[in-house]
């Protein structure tokens, strides 16, 4: 007879029978009975009633029997806590057993019994076992600390087990080290405050790296995973750890390889040595490719991770396209993931091969796979311009197959192709229209309707086609309804003569019969636009659409960075942060270390932290920007075709026509260059002009950190050159996708500062590229007093989003060139201004002579009217005029050889004094 028989006992009175067998004197019978009990437990029968009888069998010298009884105990102790106490004695005794296997077994099992009373008894044996002479017992005890922490964290801390565990990190046995690391990592992760209870330091890390070479594959994983939580203190340390980890890439265990990749990917962020990074990335590709020849389940995990790695560092696998070709027998989950990566790796160099593969896939059986393949063909067209024509031809072939889901999928991607290459492939519209009846999925219907509306002037029967959709308006998906509404309005604007009835019909359907607020709102806005100003409606609805970006489905950069820190783990498989699927525990979000030296990083942090108080909340800003939009005084909007005008329309349009904006919201990628040379030219003049070179320009400060700017980083400053104020900015793209369609707007501000030209940013801005832009400004805009006075709120828009930030305009850029007052007028004015309008400041640590002060200030349009010497002190009298016509009079006392100047500022509007003082400070210190 074999053990399988235990699974089939279903007699009545079974429990009773087992009870008597358990109490039998014969050892053999006892053993059989316990086996039966375990088998019943496995299939889900409740055998807890046998608890005392089973526990009685615990006192045995038969190890196999003992293990079975322990198994039973672990399952039922919680439901029978009082009786579980009966077992304690045996455990405590076993922990003293001469056989290390039994000592370990006892301490291992005891930790799994979650009964408070037993836990109390566990502490002493555990303490001994942590110091046991046998490594097997120590490695088991190390894990037991984690078990105990899970039951009673306070107890572990009180009893000093954490210190003991930490000591085990220096154990001579590598497996003990590995288990201690695993236990510590878990305890750190679950610490309620999110602050690690035991910090890793350089010596500990060194020990771990030594143990790494010697322990089992699983131990290597524990160590590597815990290394990925460590932040090296400098670049050198990161490099040396990387060097010691790279050999792990040749390990046969995929998890060791992936964990090593995780550590390398994270530390690489810290390393500026480009050669080192290049060598490292070259070493990463082969092991990643090798993972694809493992078992399909491991392949799946590897592919999900490769998807992340390719997004973060596209170079690593750019030559390895072929290994991602789908095999006929791959499981479907592997096929779908491979396809995803193929699209990401597609480039001009390999597009021909990729396309012919995709064409093969589009004839396969699995519906999801085929759909994805069709979609991929469209993505290739968008990504690689040279292949667009072939892709479109392939898609047309596929449409001819008349396979329903293939046709629908093809139409969805063709819509995107139209967006990317306007006025190129519209000849195929008639073929698309033939398939109108077969479309039953909302996305395909919406896409088709969009195409009809967009090209209404070329489709003779567009009105009939749209009308046919309108019949079942109420039953359509809201996506289709919105699209239909927009399409019909477009049609009306293009062919107003014969479509009035249609548009009325759809507007009334949308506004009166629908209870979908989005649809109703859009309907009302169209309606009002059409009834008040059809020309404006045309500009809004038929506005030139922003181009869609090449890459789609990219993860958000911050999420991507977080996931890179979780390579190999479940988070990287789900492509979701752990908080999305792990319950309870707060845990710290992981982030990649900041690149570059500490000094630079911290200084930029300081500058940003000085500002946040002046950044207004988003909604007030948006409100202001919108009201400014509607203000007809805005001069720069005179040319609607220019980028700035486009920006206006889009700010509105973005809200109105979300569908049009899918995939990108930039408004001005095709803006014509402004007449008379751009800001860049001005920049060159400004730099070259000799007399102006002395004008003070503050160093650029970080205005918009990439974290807040969805990957866009802006730093900048203001300057005054040739009587014109410039905003000099550096745009840096820290995101993974290219950015384009930049536009800028200012909120109302104290000096009516306004862009004089549209923003000129050479688009597209590719990832990690920076570019300079110099924006000429004038001061004719609407005025609103800000606090502080020189605060400026700016909105910058690109294809990603509208971004807001605030910055301080240094006052001296407002000092105009004709700020020299006549001597007598100066005297008179000085007297006329009441003394309460005089403000005194001191400038400390100055080392200028009065002459150099005169000269420096002159270069910034502060003019010295008179100079006196009173009791050895130099007194300077200076005047300046602000762009808004406010005069400011200044008296400076310069003691001989002294470093403290006294500044008295007088002005009718005393509010400016603080700013003027700041300007003096800036100029004289520059």
């Amino acid at each position: 007879m074999t053990d399988a028989k235990y699974f089939t006992t279903t007699k009545k009175g079974e429990i009773f029978e087992l009870k008597s067998e358990l109490n039998s004197d014969k050892k053999e019978k006892k053993r059989e009975a316990v086996k039966k009990v375990i088998a019943s437990m496995t299939v889900g029968k409740d055998v807890s009633a046998l608890f005392p009888d089973v526990v009685n069998c615990m006192q045995t010298d038969n190890l196999e029997l003992k293990k079975l009884v322990y198994l039973y105990l672990m399952n039922y102790a919680k439901s029978q806590p009082d009786m579980a106490i009966m077992a304690v004695n045996t455990f405590v005794k076993d922990c003293e057993d001469p056989n290390p296997l039994i000592r370990a077994l006892a301490v291992r099992t005891m930790g799994c019994i979650r009964v408070d009373k037993i836990t109390e008894y566990l502490c002493e044996p555990l303490r001994k076992c942590l110091k046991d002479e046998d490594p097997y017992v120590r490695k088991t005890a190390a894990v037991c600390v984690a078990k105990l922490y899970d039951i009673n964290a306070q107890l572990v801390e009180d009893q000093g087990f954490l210190e003991q565990l930490k000591d085990l990190l220096s154990d001579s046995n590598p497996m003990v080290v590995a288990n201690a690391v695993a236990a510590l990592s878990e305890i750190n992760d679950s610490s309620p405050s999110g602050v690690p209870l035991v910090e890793m330091n350089a010596p500990t890390i060194n020990k771990l790296l030594t143990a790494l070479n010697e322990c089992t594959e699983w131990g290597q994983i524990f160590i590597l995973d815990s290394l990925s939580n460590y932040n090296p203190k400098d670049e050198r340390e990161a490099q040396s750890i990387c060097e010691r980890i790279t050999p792990r890439l040749a390990h046969a265990n995929a998890a060791v390889v992936l964990s090593a990749v995780k550590v390398l990917m994270k530390y690489m962020e810290m390393i500026n040595d480009t050669e080192f990074v290049t060598v490292l990335t070259r070493k990463l590709a082969p092991p990643l490719v090798t993972l694809l020849s493992s078992e399909p389940e491991v392949q799946y995990v590897a592919l999900r991770n490769i998807n992340l790695i390719v997004q973060k560092r596209p170079d690593i696998l750019k030559h390895e396209m072929k290994v991602f070709f789908v095999k006929y027998n791959d499981p479907i989950y592997v096929k779908l993931e491979k396809l995803d990566i193929m699209i990401r790796l597609a480039s001009q160099a390999n597009i021909a091969q990729v396309l012919s593969e995709l064409k093969e896939y589009a004839t396969e059986v699995d519906v999801d796979f085929v759909r994805k393949a069709v979609r991929a063909i469209g993505r290739c067209a968008i990504k690689v311009e040279q292949s667009a024509e072939r892709c479109v031809a392939t898609l047309l072939d596929l449409i001819q197959t008349k396979v329903n889901y293939v046709v629908q999928e093809a139409i969805v991607v063709i819509k995107d192709i139209f967006r990317k290459y306007p006025n190129k492939y519209e000849s195929i519209i008639s073929t698309l229209c033939e398939n109108l009846d077969t479309l039953d999925e909302p996305e395909a219907r919406a896409s088709m309707i969009w195409i009809i509306g967009e090209y209404a002037e070329r489709i003779d029967n567009a009105d009939e086609l749209l009308e046919s959709f309108l019949e079942g308006f109420a039953d359509e998906n809201s996506q289709v309804q919105l699209q239909l509404l927009t399409a019909i309005v477009k049609l009306f604007l293009k062919r107003p003569a014969d479509t009035q009835e249609l548009v009325q019909q759809v507007l009334s359907l949308a506004t009166q019969d629908s209870d979908n607020p989005d649809l109703r709102d859009r309907g009302y806005i169209y309606w009002r636009l059409l009834s008040t100003d059809p020309a404006a409606a045309k500009e809004v609805v038929l506005a030139e659409k922003p181009l869609i970006s090449e890459e789609t489905d990219l993860l958000e950069p911050t999420l991507l960075d977080e996931l890179i820190c979780h390579i190999a783990s479940l988070a990287s498989v789900y492509h979701k942060p752990p908080s999305a699927f792990v319950e309870g525990r707060a845990g710290l979000r992981k982030a990649l270390p900041a690149r570059g030296e500490g000094g630079v990083a911290s200084s930029s942090v300081e500058t940003t932290s000085a500002h946040p108080s002046v950044i207004p909340s988003h909604d007030t800003l948006i409100g202001d920007l919108l009201s400014m939009d509607l203000n007809p005084v805005v001069q720069t909007a005179a040319q609607p075709a220019s980028g700035f005008g486009g920006g206006h329309v889009d700010l509105l349009g973005g809200g109105l026509d979300a569908l049009l904006d899918v995939g990108g919201g930039g408004g001005m990628s095709q803006a014509a260059p402004p007449p008379g040379g751009g800001g860049l030219l001005g920049d060159i003049f400004g730099l070259g002009g000799g007399d102006q070179s002395g004008a003070t320009v503050m160093p650029k400060v970080l205005w918009l950190p990439a974290v807040k700017g969805k990957g866009l980083e802006i730093s900048g400053t203001f300057s005054r050159r040739n009587g014109q104020i410039y905003m000099d900015m550096t745009f840096t793209n820290r995101a993974m996708q290219t950015m384009s369609g930049f536009a800028v707007q200012f909120n109302k501000n104290s000096f009516g500062l306004l862009p004089a030209q549209p923003l000129q940013v050479p688009a597209p801005l590719t990832p990690n590229q920076s570019c300079e832009a110099s924006l000429p400004l004038n001061t004719t805009g609407p005025v609103q007093k800000m606090d502080p006075l020189n605060n400026l709120q700016v909105a910058v828009k690109n294809n990603v989003d509208v971004l807001y930030y605030a910055c301080l305009v240094p006052m001296h850029v407002y000092f105009v060139e004709d700020g020299q007052m006549d001597k007598r007028v100066f005297l008179q004015t000085w007297k006329d201004i009441p003394t309460q309008n005089e403000v005194q400041y001191t400038l400390t640590n100055m080392s200028h002579s009065s002459d150099s002060v005169v000269q420096k200030m002159q270069q910034n349009n502060v003019f010295t009217i008179a100079k006196r010497n009173v009791e050895g002190q130099d007194m300077l009298y200076q005047s300046l005029k602000l762009t808004n016509g406010v005069w400011v009079l200044v008296e400076i006392k310069i003691p001989p050889g002294g470093s403290v100047y006294t500044l008295s500022i007088k002005s009718v509007t005393v509010d400016v004094a603080a700013g003027v003082y700041q300007a003096y400070e800036n100029i004289l210190r520059s």
């Binding site: 038969n62 198994l71 799994c112 097997y136 878990e186 265990n253 995929a254 020849s293 197959t401 479940l570």
Partner: protein, 436 residues
Amino acid sequence: MIGGLFIYNHKGEVLISRVYRDDIGRNAVDAFRVNVIHARQQVRSPVTNIARTSFFHVKRANIWVAAVTKQNVNAAMVFEFLLKIIDCMQSYFGKISEENVKNNFVLIYELLDEILDFGYPQNTDSGVLKTFITQQGVKSQTKEEQAQITSQVTGQIGWRREGIKYRRNELFLDVLEFCNLLMSPQGQVLSAHVAGKVVMKSFLSGMPECKFGINDKIVMDSKAGKGLNTDEQVRTSGKPVVVIDDCQFHQCVKLSKFETEHSISFIPPDGEFELMKYRTTKDISLPFRVIPLVREVGRTRMEVKVVLKSNFKPSLLGQKIECKIPTPLNTSGVQLICMKGKAKYKASENAIVWKIKRMAGMKETQLSAEIELLETDTKKKWTRPPISLNFEVPFAPSGFKVRYLKVFESKLNYSDHEVIKWVRYIGRSGLYETRC
């Protein structure tokens, strides 16, 4: 970490259920059965998330092995571990089947208790496990024996025990390569790679240090000195080299030494083990070439001609050649003529199976088939699966060569040249497919 481990039969009945963590309840067992095993749709992913609980599964034959967790575990590790458990069970009791699992459930529980502690994998080497998980009940072990076991389970050389003695020191090396190919109908190589492994079977006394040398390009380059490119080297030394894209080693190989000195040194486990795995993509000599010609004659007839060419030294013999030519689902009859071997239409597999026992190098043979089709009105096109080929050849298609394997055992008095060594090369087909 892993919260629990379940084994089910194909019906979804639990055969083994072991819970390691408190956050996994009994209902998890049922959740997996209902949502995955009994799911109406085909499984779309080996990882399933049900109510914030993640299930990893591997299916072998009719047996499902599933790991459960509520934490953000290392997913690669979980799968590697599940595969290791299956390996381990196989080495204890052979094939994984419902029968075998039920018969050995006590053993499996004992194993699971040993190799997974609180969800953390421990030593899973079946060779070592077999020294103390024996199913023999109590074994009166001496203190020395016990100490030896524990030092082995936790030791630096966890894969070999001390005190092994053989009268004849002997070792066998098998270089086993799987040649993978995807070829277009026009004969263009779409992708080709060789996945190779070196399997070693050693019967050596003591704790021998082994050094293994191969004709890897990097090693040969560093030996020959720099400045020579591969072609020159081939000319000068007369020995071809192999460009290995990537290789992986058994845990006994000292990886840091390989990284720095490119030398493969190790103390081998006793008996059989996989020393290294490697992958090459350059200069693969493809042993066979399949040239398909498919012609659809009207709606009810198809003509297929397949030419098979062998492409290696005429003195060598290819064996176990089997060519599988897929046929449409509506095939009603097939007439076959082949010059060599036997060909048969197998309706159950929807394919013509053409078997050739032996074929020498540089030969050519062919098969022609006329396929009659039933008239159908299904719109679905036949997707023409690729023609696949299986074979075995007595050489390594990648050009991989063993240069030496030296054995050093300082404590015992036998020297390298007293060890009897055997090397064998086998090239097999992996996925060897030609589209038609």
